[in-house]
Amino acid sequence: MATDLFKAPDYYNLDDLLSEEHIMVRDATRDWVKRSISPIIEEACQKAEFPKQIVSGLGEIGAFGPYIPEEYGGAGLDQISYGLIMQELERGDSGVRSTASVQSSLVMYPIYKYGNEEQRKKYLPKLASGEHLGCFGLTEPNHGSNPSGMETNFKDLGDHYLLNGAKMWISNAPFADIAIVWAKSEENRIHGLIVERGMEGFSTPETHNKWSLRASATGELVFDNVKVPKENLLANKSGLGAPLGCLDSARFGIAWGAIGAAMDCYDTALRYSKERIQFDKPIGAFQLQQKKLAEMITEITKAQLLTFRLGQLRNEGRATSAQISMAKRNNVDMAMTIARDARQMLGGMGITGEYPIMRHMMNLESVVTYEGTHDIHLLITGMDVTGFNAFK
């Protein structure tokens, strides 16, 4: 891929709302993406290879669990910083952001929130540094949008638990050292278990032939009579609310991440529109192309305001799950529309790997589906405002 010329738009001077530290966090991540992601990402996606070396790099800059306290290897940053890191990573590639989202919000977060002190001390520092990679198993072959129906289960056999079942569509699974697995107890209650690679009966076959998130490894988790030590239970929270708490954190990051993907598409199309000459004029001088660019920057700016406010609410511990759903849904949809319009603006060049747009566009097809589909988030908002449950 050509040199990364990315310049972030800031139409409403939102930088004025950020602290000096937020800006440093964002710029550091942006610089890291330019140095470590942009030069390798196109080839990794073309070959559908997970660039494993980025795991230690993400650990080094501190993109894993940035809001986890320093004593456990995190940086103790606030939620807006976390959002900005996700924005910049996804500006590089949604797959890279996914790797970091899963590690931070779906693996470190539940260990920190629902685990005990020994579990925190044992797992968090290695996850923060990137020495270990984690994954999160909630979705199953027969239960996607409806995880409460999950079939994966464990029995208490006195000195250990016996885990059986299968998870599907699990990011990071093929390379993960540990998995946070959600399974039902004999009392039919959902609990989180830490399953480690190497436990007998545990395997992680890779899912091949994806057209989306090709630089992120996806796989299954298969549990065939896996003996899980009792100390691996996340004992401080159970029920569907436990995995949903993790999803709140991850979805918040995705709402920011989608802005990154949208900014990269907009910035690429804007630059191209000033350089590409047709009918003796830069294509950016034609009204139809200006309409696309004007709408893109408007939507990006609205999305930025949405996430900034949501970040404030999360910092105060006041953001509701429904508020997070709204931002995830709106921003991913906004990014998809921008990716499609931006791709068209580049004409034939838009379908090549010379430019990042088509890659973002394909990635976003996963982002709009995982962590609650576009439809499911709409139903959450619908239920929140009407009080009627339209899921069933």
Partner: protein, 248 residues
């Protein structure tokens, strides 16, 4: 060992440059500022020395409060403490005098500056500072090794390199080569958090005289639009050279 790295706060190289106040002042509206790239090579070499020998690294800037994010970034990269001398750095001798007053009291073993700052490209501060401090000075430095109080320094010269040996204390004005671009440090999140707790001391400017003042700045003339003419169309070329360019 104590190392001082002088850091200037300059517009990002991709900035659009404008002037205000009757073209006598730089318009910093909408400009992103960065650590002067020449200084960043020096800061990175200082960090490597710190890691190898346990030296302490102080970063210093003469500037207004708006330069503090740049100093904080240097702290996030790993400098131990930062000093800002509160003054507008509009004249080289003035800046060098203020830096010298501070450095004199602190007895640094090594002072590193950039060869020049990429905003005004004066390149005068390092030499003046070494003169005020009466210590050896090597300009355009592209290599530095230390052994106790002895230093081996490589300097870029026209079409080649010169290797020099000297004793600390010493002042080096660095550039690329001191370290390479790939060695430059990106602050990590933990570094950014730690920077919060590191001292950033503000010192009021002492007595120093500005020896020059700016009368005005001018931008280079904008490049004229280029008209492309088909190779077969010599007649049109002649016509344009005559009627528009007025050269024939």
């Amino acid at each position: 060992m104590k190392i001082l790295v002088c850091i200037s706060h300059v517009p990002d190289t991709t900035s659009k440059i404008n002037f205000t106040n009757n073209n006598t002042e730089f318009d910093s509206n909408g400009i992103t500022f960065v650590i002067n790239p020449y200084d960043e090579f020096g800061l990175t070499r200082a960090m490597q020395i710190k890691e190898a020998t346990g030296a302490t690294v102080t970063v210093i800037n003469v500037g207004s409060a708006s330069t503090e994010p740049t100093l904080r970034k240097a702290l996030a990269i790993g400098a131990d403490d930062a000093v800002r001398i509160n003054a507008e750095p509009t004249d080289a001798a003035f800046v060098a005098r203020l830096l010298a007053d501070y450095a004199e009291e602190q007895n640094f073993d090594l002072i590193i500056t950039g060869r020049e700052s990429i905003d005004y490209n004066g390149g005068a501060v390092p030499g003046m500072l070494a003169t005020y401090l009466d210590i050896p000075f090597v300009n355009a430095c592209i290599g530095l090794e230390l052994k106790g109080t002895k230093s081996t320094v490589i300097r870029e010269i026209d079409g080649g390199k010169e290797t020099l040996e000297g004793n600390l204390p010493m002042l080096l004005a660095g550039q690329k080569g001191l370290v390479e671009e790939k060695d430059l440090r990106i602050p990590a999140m933990r570094g950014i958090m730690m920077a919060r707790k590191k001292p950033l001391t503000v010192i009021e400017a002492g007595e120093a005289v500005k020896q020059t003042s700016v009368l005005g700045f001018e931008l280079p003339e904008a490049k004229a639009a280029c008209t492309m003419i088909d190779a077969d169309n010599v007649e049109q070329l002649v016509e344009l050279l005559h009627s528009e360019a007025k050269v024939i």
